[in-house]
Amino acid sequence: MLRSSLYIAVLTLFLMSCESIKTAVFDQYAYQEAISIKVESLNLMDEAVASYSEHEDDVQTLLLDLQKILEYEKNKPNNEVSFAMWQVVTDKERNLLAGFLERWKVDSQLSNVFIGEAKGQVTQALDLIIKYEANKNKTNETNILNFLSTN
């Protein structure tokens, strides 16, 4: 009796400690949206050699998409890391995607060389978000394989 109580107590404490490392599971929608935003963003960045006013509608559409994914990630449970990563990319005060669009708006048009270098930075940023989401999938797969091999 004492032994079983001890096991249950240890198990309860252990399960409680797991709360802090819970992570949202792989999300196909979030993964596809991230890829779609990456493609749209890089194509639009190429247009920054032209006047901002010519592409203002396209920029607003992209900013709306960014707002939507940010809100989506924010409301998923145990999803702090993905949400924080999207916050960095969509922050106009930082120099990644939203920061690039803001600079285009302020400067009206940007040079080809600068756009090329900035695109490299934005590509790396969005790839990190995509890779992180894909990694959740890998972890799920490993868990399923482990479960199948032990049952």
């Binding site: 032994r3 079983s4 096991y7 249950i8 240890v10 198990l11 252990f14 399960l15 400690s17 797991c18 490392i21 819970k22 992570t23 890391v81 993905s82 924080a84 990563m85 960095v88 990319v89 930082r94 120099n95 990644l96 920061g99 600079r103 940007l110 040079s111 060389v113 600068f114 270098e117 900035a118 490299g120 930075q121 790396q124 940023a125 990190l128 978000i129 890779k131 992180y132 990694n135 959740k136 972890t139 490993t142 868990n143 482990n146 479960f147 032990t150």
Partner: protein, 107 residues
């Protein structure tokens, strides 16, 4: 700007960010950060050359430097998240072992 000095500054800022929010994962991510800083060095050298040749303006150059700092922050978040996933996986295995042991011994 001296490239080595810039790398040092970036490293300091990154360690502050890690210390504030992800201190518990610092050990796991240190090697990845070192590798990332090596990649930054190549970019910083290229941007400095483009600045010297007049292909980038001072504003462009500053913008890109800050973007690299932001990318480092993003990379730190990614590494912390991956460490968290690994820990979660490890704990899942431990839970399964405990449950199996309890079932075998108690029931």
């Amino acid at each position: 700007m001296d490239i080595e000095e810039l790398i040092k500054l970036l490293k300091e800022e990154l360690l502050v960010v890690l210390g504030e929010s992800y201190g518990e994962y610092k050990k796991e991510t240190k090697a990845d950060i070192e590798a990332f800083l090596t990649l930054s060095k190549v970019k910083l050298e290229r941007w400095t050359n483009l600045l010297q040749s007049g292909e980038l303006t001072v504003e462009d150059y500053e913008w890109l430097l800050v973007s690299q700092k932001d990318l480092l922050i993003l990379n730190a978040l990614h590494q912390a998240g991956v460490s968290k996933l690994r820990l979660g996986h490890l704990k899942n295995k431990i839970i399964k072992t405990i449950v199996n042991t309890v079932i075998t011994v108690v029931i």
